[in-house]
């Protein structure tokens, strides 16, 4: 009975989400991309690092859908594998950020005092510092690799979530219904889990989507600068790394356009979905 109500709320949410056509389109594209990078690899003729001696810088053909790169690797395969890496880094690093940020934010908001000062001051420092500089610095220290990049991006993302949940919890804490919960004798634990978190979930979800997009951009920027995912592993960023040559830029667009467009489409889709979520979940910013 109860579940029915919740289900109908969910359906309601879906309906509202579906009103936003861009968000739905973004969602479909994301699902397609995810399926592609998850399912496709075993079926690909070429692996990401396999060299076809006939395909050195070859333009797209029937054997190489998107052509070959300058060592004869299949661009399409690299695009798919690169997508895997990009999505992996985006998701995992965001997960790390959430895992660190949310508890810290809740602690700061709930216990205030010294916890708040330390955690929030720390997050101020992190947030106001250009993260790309910090990430570059850390990655250069710990050596660039998928794991370091993921962990560093993830760890540096915590203040976003800590801040958000801190603000949300503080504003929810001020709500009468929290006082009401205290008045009927709810424990701190159940206040957090029954009253605060369910009401804070919407902004977190929205933030997660946007952060995934940001993390993917960060990873690809790093790889583009040569400090991210290292060859021979593929990532959309390091595929573009090579395009910094005029000849590739002018004569071999198949080597740089696909990863660039893939990146753009993915980020755009995630942002559309995030925006759709915001409209559907947060009635305050909902317009019309």
């Amino acid at each position: 009975m109860n579940n029915n109500r919740k289900k109908s709320m969910f359906i309601n949410f879906i309906k509202r989400f579906c009103k936003n056509k861009l968000a739905v389109a973004g969602f479909i594209v994301l699902v397609l991309i995810s399926l592609l990078v998850i399912i496709l690899p075993p079926f690909l003729t070429y692996s990401e690092s396999e060299i076809d001696p006939l395909a050195f810088s070859s333009p797209p053909s029937s054997t190489h859908l998107l052509g070959g790169d300058d060592v004869g690797r299949d661009v399409f395969s690299r695009l798919v594998y690169g997508g895997r890496v990009s999505l992996f880094v985006g998701l995992l690093s965001t997960f790390i950020s959430v895992l660190i940020g949310i508890p810290l934010g809740i602690i700061a908001a709930f216990y205030r005092g010294i916890f708040e000062s330390i955690i929030m001051r720390l997050s101020d420092v992190f947030l106001s510092f250009p993260s790309i500089i910090l990430i570059l610095f850390l990655v250069s220290i710990f050596g660039p690799s998928i794991i370091t990049v993921t962990v560093v991006i993830g760890v540096l993302g915590w203040p976003l979530f800590a801040r958000l949940i801190f603000g949300t919890v503080l504003s929810i804490r001020e709500k009468d219904y929290i006082e009401g919960a205290v008045a009927i004798g709810e424990t701190v634990r159940s206040i957090i889990f029954k009253y605060i978190l369910p009401n804070a979930i919407a902004p977190i979800l929205i933030q997660i989507t946007f952060r995934i997009a940001a993390a993917i951009v960060l990873e690809s920027s790093l790889s583009f600068l040569g400090m991210g995912v290292q060859p021979p592993a593929a990532s959309w960023g390091n595929m573009l790394y090579n395009a910094q040559s005029i000849t590739i830029l002018t004569d071999k667009p198949w080597m740089w356009l696909p990863p660039g467009i893939a990146l753009l489409v993915t980020i755009l889709s995630i942002n559309f979905v995030g925006n759709g979520l915001r409209d559907a979940l947060d009635p305050k910013t909902k317009i019309s």
Partner: protein, 544 residues
Amino acid sequence: MNKKVKVFFLVLLIAVFSLAGCSSNQEVKQEPTKNQGAHGKKDGVVTMAIISTWDTLNIYNTSGNYGNAVADQLFERLVYRDHDGKILPRLAQNWEMAADHKSMTFNLANNVLWHDGEKLTAEDIVFTSQAMTSPKVDNYYRSAFNVLAGTNGDGVAQDPKSVGAEAVDNDTVRFTFKEPKDPDTILNAFLSFLFVLPKHILDTGDYASINKSDFWKAPIGAGPFKYVKDTAGESLELEAFTDYYQGSPDFKTLVVRVVPAANLTAGLMNGDIDLVAMGSIPLSDWKTVKNADGIEAVSVEDYSYQYMTFNLSKENDSFQDVKVRTAFDKAINKKLLVDKLMLGEGSVAVGPMPTYHPYYNDKLKANKYNPKEAKKLLEEAGFDFNKEYLMIVPKGNQVREQSALLIQQDLAAIGVKTKIETYDFATLLSMLKDGKFDLGLLGGGSNIDPGESSVILKPGDSRNYSLLTDSKWYDLAAKGASLTNLDDRKKAYDEYQQALVEDQPYIWLYHQNSLWAHSKRLSNVPMNDFVWFNFASWKWKVSK
């Protein structure tokens, strides 16, 4: 209070903009005149591109080759060298090796002036030798001085008076050596890096002041060009030294500019760059450059070499068997590397010396590419095919990074599994030192001395990347260096090369050509000689 705040911000704003303005320079000297388009040129300006900064104008403290490109414009050397290794006179008009091979005398051109108008004399050369061997002075290239009498193995002389350099007269300088030396060694290894410094400015009586001197911010040399100004790490403006003793350069201003490799082609094509001096044009752009109108593109045979290192430390027994190493050498299709990755602009390496090296042993019996034999050799040696071998590659050289992939493929063809990891050079070095690798790709070669490559074969040296414990190969090279008779030397180095092929302590992969180009505005540019940082810029001609 509000007013104060506003004033504060106004001041701040002005400060900000003036700061921004500073970086783009304060005064607008002259308006661009006439029909200067987007990439209009001022007459008499030649722009030379290098891909990495010259770091410092202190030639003895520069860490890389790019400093040499600048130094050769500002400072004079006794001799210089053409592409094939032939020594040409510069400051020294002629020279003579003493019969005992323990001293060498150079006669200088007598009309040489410093940029400040002082006359350059033999005293300056003596001063330079004494200063650069002094422990109070930083000199990365000091070891080149260790041939001189009075210095220790590192080239340090505790007493400057004891250093084997003396001014016979104003125009004659004599170097004396610890032990008999072959003239080639002196001219190639030692004099390559002896840039003469002005005694009248730097000799304050205390050598320690030399490093700190403001001299290096705007050095005064005796080279074809005078220092005008520079933006650290970005560009350097030089002006023709009209009193240059070999004749004034043909144009007024030489700008040395740091341009990322990726931008070289575009710069050349739109006329921003007249000349690519140091650093190759990216291979991917080579075709474009070669076919471009108005550009003279030269593929110069280079003396550097690329090699693969094995982990031969005691802890790692995978490659101890020479058969394994030979098998690897046979398995790698070096020709393909040259043809595909370098588009043919390079050559297959047999040893550290390319076929055009004066000391190349043309009777070398090299391994031939033969995967089948390679596989058999491995099986004979009982090679562990199940293990995955870590191949580490330093970042930065694209051809090398790509060659790793082809090598991986070649090795896979004979059943050897490898995993490639790319690291920045510093990390890679510490991995090499700690033996945390199985295979590695590196490069070397910086002067024409045939024993140059022995440094990577010397047990205990930090450049001994294969972690060799046997000094056999190093000893062979050392023997060559000690001989003064040309034929004996040649024989010794033949032996050295043959030993390297037989034992394969490293696999010599390829020699990659330098891809250089200049605008057809310029002529008489000895691009081939640029490999030895010999630019002869006073000879360049600019068409009007």
